[in-house]
Amino acid sequence: MIEAKNVSKSFGKIRAVDDISLKIEDGRVFGLIGTNGAGKSTFLRLAAGVLKPDSGSVEIDGREVFEEPEVKENFFYISDDTYFFSNSTPDVMAEFYRKIYPNFSVLRFGKLMDDFSLDRKRKINTFSKGMKKQLSVILGLSAMTKYMYCDETFDGLDPVMRQGVKSLFAGEMTERGFTPVIASHNLRELEDICDTVGLLHKGGILLSEDLDSVKADIHKLHCVFRDENDIEDVKKELDILIEDKKGTLYTLTVRGMEEQIMAEINAHDPVFAEMLPLSLEEIFISETGVTGYDIKKIIC
């Protein structure tokens, strides 16, 4: 288990990570989501022991990470900007990681490179951005570590590759209790694979929960009432996060159980009421309470 306890990190005046505490359990996929500059990458770098926390601690299985090579053998960190030695080939990088990770499997590396049709002898600087990301994932999986930190790794992959990598992750998870930690702002990417999500905003953590229970707790619906008084009554009874009105049609984002919400709405005999699918993206917006973050408002 990875456990962060009251971790903070500042760069000058900027408080990138502000008193974050969270637990990442083994054998589950943890998704780290947040806006640009929310502190996702800084948090991963703290969890990787690249940065030393100003206060608090990050422990892997009860041991502090920073400057502990032995603890660092437990994870593979794919940073946002993939780094390879200049003029190196995939084989050279594999040789390097083999020296660092005691369980590195050369066999697996060869097989994955073939599966992804990447040339092991070609200079990496001639690879495309997406191919570099693929190579990082392959090196990471070959290192056979318990944890893998992926910083926006999926964003650089094409849809076919994304599905492929997700499949590989699924295989690893059932075979050896592999635990991926995936940071992304692309929520659609995380929706179908994460068990737990941690929502970062302005350096702090807003929630860290089971994705299914997050989804069960927030609902969005369309409704039209016969009378303005009805909507006022409904507003008093329900915990409404976001309200939008177009003509007589109300779009409400409500916190609570689905049955209770519908019972309350139906009690007012609406002309029409319907539950809508809610994406992680909308949950994210509701939770951060930052409709003001809506990019449309910045542009318009």
Partner: protein
């Protein structure tokens, strides 16, 4: 195994998988005592989290639709006993649709005609 996954659906992923498998068992596409794909292979095939597949299998087992044999995987149960309940569910859904149709002024004759046509397609 083909399972339709819709990320825009309000139903959680595990429930969609469970329903997909339930459907196939009820319709006899998966025979009683037939082995289901392993958690690993289904997760890899659908490119989803194995914990999600595990959760779906757990839900199906609770409903009595599948049973697991330790070390050998999961198998479909004999679902015949559950069919009446499923039929009742479908009829209830139909009631809702018919009520809505009547509200929008669709006549009984139109409805019956539709039902007959759809029934014929379902039979073939």
């Amino acid at each position: 195994m083909f399972i339709d996954i819709d990320l825009r659906d309000r139903k959680p992923l595990y429930e969609q998988i469970a329903l997909g498998i339930e459907d196939q068992i009820m319709r006899g596409l998966i025979q009683p005592d037939e082995a289901l794909p392993s958690v690993r292979s289904l997760a890899m095939e659908l490119s989803i989290n194995p914990n999600t597949v595990q959760k779906a299998y757990g839900a199906l087992e609770q409903k009595g639709l599948i049973y697991s044999v330790s070390g050998r995987g999961s198998f479909a149960s004999n679902a015949e006993g559950l069919l009446p309940g499923k039929r009742e569910d479908i009829l209830k859904q139909l009631d809702e649709i018919i009520t809505k149709a009547v509200k929008f002024g669709i006549s009984m004759d139109e409805l019956l005609e539709r039902a007959r046509n759809a029934g014929n397609i379902g039979n073939t």
